[in-house]
Each structure stands twice: as structure tokens, then as C-alpha cells.
């Protein structure tokens, strides 16, 4: 691909870097593996960039690719892919984000972490403000199914928080 395309890709990924961060945080409890996952996501985004035709928002396309990579990463049993950069270098450089966050947010991350990989994807898309139709498109299920699952997840969450005594 051309240098122009590389520059466009970098700009788009940079604009939506939060998606990579949130997915890595939700699918990798192990901090050490988050960089590996971030690398795999960016590499796959680049490989698939040719399939982005602009019909959907870039963020929707990015979510599809990144969630597919994250679920495969989560499911994989063999050794992880070798990193192309050293352990001191990080694709996503972050401040200590969780330190000043409200307790509810940490609980929310905890709740997401406990979900199976498919429901994790559903909740992340919902929290990021995607409508039922877009969520259905990304997941490959019907809108009715999305509504049903979200309703169930909301009640599970309420139960989870009230029984844990956290809320």
C-alpha cells in the first residue's frame, strides 16, 4: 500500500485509539499481554485496511476487526505472537488512568471482565453509544436479539452489583 494510505491509516487509528485501549483492557486482565493484543489489533487493522470502503463509520469497521482479533486472542491456547518491539516500548502510552476513576467505573470494568467474550463485545459497543442496528451489524445478530441480550445483561448487572454489596 502507498505511503499516503499508511499516513491515512495512522491518522484514523490515532483518532480512534481509545477503541484499542478499551478492548485491550476488557479482554486482557493480564497487563503484560495487553501490548501483545494491541499489536495484533493494529497489525490486523492494517492488513484489513483495504476492505474499508467507507460505507460504515471507520469506528464501526475498526470495532469489527479489533473485536474479532481480541476474541481470537482470548480463545487462543498456544503461545502468543512474538512482539516486534521491546518490552519497554508500548503501542498505547497511557497515564495511570484507573487511579482517579470513580469506583463505579472500576466495578463496571470488573463486570465486563467477568462476561464471556461475545457479551463483552455487546456491552462495549452499547457503552460507546452504538445503536441496536450498528451493534447487530458488528456482531452479526438481529436487532431484536441485541435488545433481548441487553435487557438481560442489565438485570444481571443490577443483581451482580447488589449481591456483591458494592452498590
Amino acid at each position: 500500500m502507498s505511503t499516503e494510505q499508511q499516513a491515512r491509516f495512522q491518522t484514523l487509528v490515532d483518532e480512534h485509539r481509545k477503541i484499542v485501549y478499551k478492548i485491550c483492557n476488557s479482554y486482557c486482565p493480564n497487563r503484560g499481554e495487553r501490548d501483545d493484543l494491541a499489536q495484533e489489533i493494529v497489525t490486523q487493522l492494517w492488513r484489513s485496511f483495504g476492505t474499508f470502503d467507507g460505507r460504515n463509520r471507520f469506528s464501526t469497521w475498526m470495532y469489527r476487526v479489533a473485536l474479532n482479533v481480541a476474541i481470537s486472542f482470548y480463545r487462543r491456547e498456544s503461545s502468543r505472537a512474538k512482539r516486534t518491539f521491546s518490552a519497554d516500548e508500548h503501542l498505547l502510552e497511557t497515564a495511570d488512568i484507573t487511579s482517579g476513576e470513580p469506583e463505579e467505573l472500576l466495578l463496571l470494568y470488573g463486570f465486563i471482565e467477568g462476561l464471556d467474550p461475545l457479551n463483552k463485545a455487546l456491552v462495549l459497543l452499547y457503552l460507546d453509544g452504538y445503536g441496536y442496528r450498528e451493534i447487530a451489524d458488528v456482531l452479526g445478530i438481529t436487532e431484536t436479539n441485541v435488545a433481548t441480550k441487553l435487557s438481560r445483561l442489565k438485570s444481571t448487572m443490577k443483581q451482580h452489583f447488589s449481591t456483591s454489596g458494592a452498590i
Binding site: 495512522q10 474479532n68 480463545r75 488512568i97 436479539n145 438481560r152
Partner: protein, 229 residues
């Protein structure tokens, strides 16, 4: 602290605040991103496709050579029967490999999650069955390979050289080894987690990888087709 009424919708507001904070708190290392786009290493899928092409080539060669051998020794059951058995195995492998190859060509990560994950899991199951088959043949069917190989390449008769009892004893030994390997793999899979290769083999032989893949496919189907409340 929130109260019992806190729901996903209420927490969504906190999530939005968190999202705004991420705008300033996260920086993408553009140098590393550029490195990834400039030198994309061959993906795991790329390596798999490459190895599948090689494996399909060897499976095809095996099918052709075995077919030729069967044609030459069709009237001698002591040679044609082992060769037919091996040819059936080779055809089964070839069928599995072609299905793997076709599935890898259909994987496009920008397609919906349910579709792609189903394909990836199908590929995983085909791969597990293939490795299980290879291990089974290596342990159980090597007397057949010995009979056919000696005859085909050196024109030697394994029955005369080793005797029937030796060949049967090895087949039975193979069965015992398989039973022992399955038992060991099931019993000690957790203890070899430190070694990726040993862990992979233990989970493949013991069947836990295939069970996990089957369960995930069932979960995917339930996730996809769940009816409304």
C-alpha cells in the same frame, strides 16, 4: 456510591466521562504503528496457509503413490489391504486439509463477529482433528507403513522379515500407547501449562481443546439464535 437502582444506563454516563478522559490520557506511539505497517510480519494465518499448501502437496503425493502401489499389488491382499487402509487415511487427511485451506481463504476480520468466529472455530476444530489423526497414525498405523514402505521402496516382504506376530504385537503396543497417552494427557494437562508445545499436545490428545472448541461453537450458535424473551 450508587444505590440499588444503578443500571448499565446510569453507568454509561460514567463511561462517557471516562471516554473523554482517555482523549487526553492515551497517546498512540506513531513510530511503532508505522513500524507495524512498514514491516508486517507474515500473520499466523499466512503461515498456516503456507503450511497447508505444503501439507496438501504431500497428501496428494501420498494418495497418488499409494494408488499406484494398490494397482501393482491388487491381487496380493497382504500388501493391498494395508495400502488401502493407508490410502483411506491419506484421503481423509487430504479432505481435512482442503477444508482447512478453503476456510482460511474465507476469513476476513472485517466481517461480523458471529460469522468470523464460527469460521475460526471451525478451522481450529479441523486443525485439532488433523493433529489427532497424525498422532494416531504415527503410533497405530506404523506397522502398515512398514509393510507398504519396505515393499514399495526396497521390494522387501515385512511379513517374512519380521513375522506376523511381530507386526500384531506392534499394533497392539500402539493401541496401548494411545490409551496411555490419552490417560496421561487428561491427568497431567494442567501440569505442563508452562510449556506451550507440551500443553498444546496434552490438550489435543486429551480432547480438551476439541471440547472447548465444540462448546464455543455451541455458545456462538446460542448467542446468534437466541429468541426474544
Amino acid at each position: 456510591m450508587a444505590n440499588d437502582e444503578t443500571t448499565l444506563d446510569e453507568l454509561k454516563a460514567k463511561w462517557v466521562e471516562h471516554d473523554h478522559k482517555l482523549d487526553t490520557d492515551i497517546r498512540l506511539n506513531r513510530q511503532l504503528t508505522a513500524a507495524l505497517t512498514l514491516k508486517p510480519a507474515r500473520s499466523a494465518m499466512g503461515w498456516l496457509v503456507f503450511s497447508l499448501v505444503v501439507e496438501i502437496f504431500f497428501a496428494l503425493v501420498a494418495v497418488v503413490l499409494l494408488g499406484d502401489f494398490i494397482g501393482d499389488h491388487f491381487r496380493t491382499a497382504t500388501f493391498s489391504v494395508p495400502a488401502i487402509a493407508l490410502d483411506i487415511f491419506a484421503l481423509a487427511f487430504l479432505n481435512n486439509l482442503i477444508r482447512q485451506f478453503v476456510t482460511t481463504r474465507q476469513i476476513d476480520y472485517s466481517q461480523p463477529i458471529a460469522t468470523i468466529q464460527k469460521k475460526l472455530e471451525t478451522l481450529r476444530m479441523l486443525r485439532i482433528r488433523y493433529v489427532q489423526g497424525i498422532l494416531l497414525i504415527a503410533v497405530l498405523a506404523w506397522p502398515l507403513l512398514l509393510i507398504v514402505g519396505l515393499k514399495a521402496f526396497f521390494n522387501l516382504d515385512a511379513y517374512d522379515l519380521f513375522g506376523w506376530s511381530y507386526l500384531w504385537a506392534n499394533t497392539l503396543l500402539g493401541l496401548a500407547i494411545i490409551a496411555l497417552a490419552i490417560w496421561l494427557a487428561k491427568r497431567f494437562a494442567d501440569r505442563v501449562k508452562g510449556s506451550p508445545l507440551a500443553s498444546y499436545l496434552a490438550r489435543t490428545i486429551g480432547g480438551s481443546s476439541l471440547n472447548a472448541a465444540t462448546d464455543f461453537v455451541a455458545n456462538l450458535a446460542a448467542f446468534e439464535h437466541e429468541s426474544a424473551i
